[in-house]
Symmetry: C2
Amino acid sequence: MNFKVIEWKNGKVKLLDQTRLPQEIVYLELDDYKSMATAIQEMRIRGAPALGLAAAYGMALGAQESNTQTKEEFLRHLQVVAQALIATRPTAVNLPWAIERMERVAASAGNVPQIKAALIAEARRLEAETEASDRRLGQWGAELIPDVATVLTHCNAGTLATGGYGTALGVIRAAAEQGKRIRVFADETRPLLQGARLTAWELVQYKIPVTLITDNMAGHFLSRGEIQCVIVGADRIAANGDVANKIGTYPLAVVATENGVPFYVAAPTSTIDLSLASGKEIPIEERASEEVTHFRGVATAPEGVEVANPAFDVTPHQYISAIITEEGIVREPYGDRLKKLMFFAQGREAND
Amino acid sequence: MNFKVIEWKNGKVKLLDQTRLPQEIVYLELDDYKSMATAIQEMRIRGAPALGLAAAYGMALGAQESNTQTKEEFLRHLQVVAQALIATRPTAVNLPWAIERMERVAASAGNVPQIKAALIAEARRLEAETEASDRRLGQWGAELIPDVATVLTHCNAGTLATGGYGTALGVIRAAAEQGKRIRVFADETRPLLQGARLTAWELVQYKIPVTLITDNMAGHFLSRGEIQCVIVGADRIAANGDVANKIGTYPLAVVATENGVPFYVAAPTSTIDLSLASGKEIPIEERASEEVTHFRGVATAPEGVEVANPAFDVTPHQYISAIITEEGIVREPYGDRLKKLMFFAQGREAND
């Protein structure tokens, strides 16, 4: 099956509604930035790199909505668009990262019609870059995967999460394409079941054998030596190597470490935020309690019960065996090495 | 609200259907042992100590079903009943433990009508003992709970799990009744949501503040110092102190230990199985894949995906700060101390 996470088509954004998967393949057509902001909040598109794409296309949509011919007024409008998109979800840094990139393009282009065209082109360029970057990341990461391995992953860090080849799933796909015999254990990932609904579905498409488990089963299989490595994506990586990722990542890293199983994070350099010294500074999104208490409108808990619903947790760098990026693999000490990597990555961007 | 987990009434067993909670309070009336076996398999009653009660009442039901007056023939029939009940669920040792106790009573009673009456009396005695034992356990355990504490628990080890005052929840209730300011974090406990459906519901009845979280959120709160201790029940405890309990207990113990948070197991001595040297020998029940892939008949995963569904995991004794029983609190080295405790518990039983 072929599917496209997001694309620009006839002046609109066509977006695969991930809340309907795996039962239904439904595409949304968005023609204004507010619909994009809503789609992001409702997690119709999710995953840090894909949120970068969604934000970029959201900026392109917002630009089309303005009728002004004054550049100044137009850029003020774009700022409103940018703020609305940034406000949707706080944790993934790829979202503000992509918007800043779009703002730079807008500032350097000529008149309003030229900016409008440049923003569409830039969003498309970002989409193409994501695919290429994911594939480089996959090649780096595949080196770390044994020839015969059961790999455990959490949430979804595949094509659906990036719009490209995938990060954690990109590594798994690359290893499988190299002829390695890979089997995947997919955590279902409560409360929104991205593992059950999205990762299991993607792996079925790729014909990579997958076993679905509930999140609380991962420890059992790690302790029994049935998992050779764990690999997950990331929503934001701080300067010291601490990683914010989908809730449940941290206990997985602790239990993997306790059992001597390597724990890898796969993420593009756009996920690295050197402005934050440690993971403690990463904002953690708190989502609605209904995600925990209800399943498709059916209550699973007594009425009125209090709920906590942090969407992410922070894994301290000491539990992370390596961070795999499109520019290469980084290990401890993360502080120095992430800085060098980012210097290299920015050099590449400047030369592109 | 008042509720009764299981009771003998007019020659039948009245049983609260825990699969319907918290939405509906439905009682089943069982009048044959096969219905009891089915109810156990379908988890209409669950929790290790409550399974002991269910098995005991199942034996009493099975006894009533026999029309023979020959004691020999009757005891052969009882063996068939016992085997059917033991075969329902393999992990909780309370089930065979209660059945052995019923068999001893049957063997020592006089004629068939006397045995039938003795089995009903013995099941009722076990029910009363459970309540008393839970309360003693609660008093011991409450000593370990700080005066102001947020306590995390997994699955359900309350009245619904024992038919008495509860084990892990019994400790929490006792602490709260002593005036300690207790708040509970309840893991929802996938796949069957005993935490969301049963523990949260019980705590609402007891007016103890409860916050519901998904299983994969526990690590986040443990790492942030928001939890003062973890307390869970047990399905079987091996001679070396290894504990089998609901899937997800083991990673909780590892992450609690990593964060210096005490991890307690609360279980009656009937859960201790000195015949098994370590947790590796405890049989782990594998349940149907639909529990993971479906929610009330609605699929949450792509069709045909492979699933693993172990219902329990084993927590090695080194992660357990203390085991709380009705006879007192046991700490490392568990090997010697559990043996002494059981010697004492059996002495008490013989004197009763």
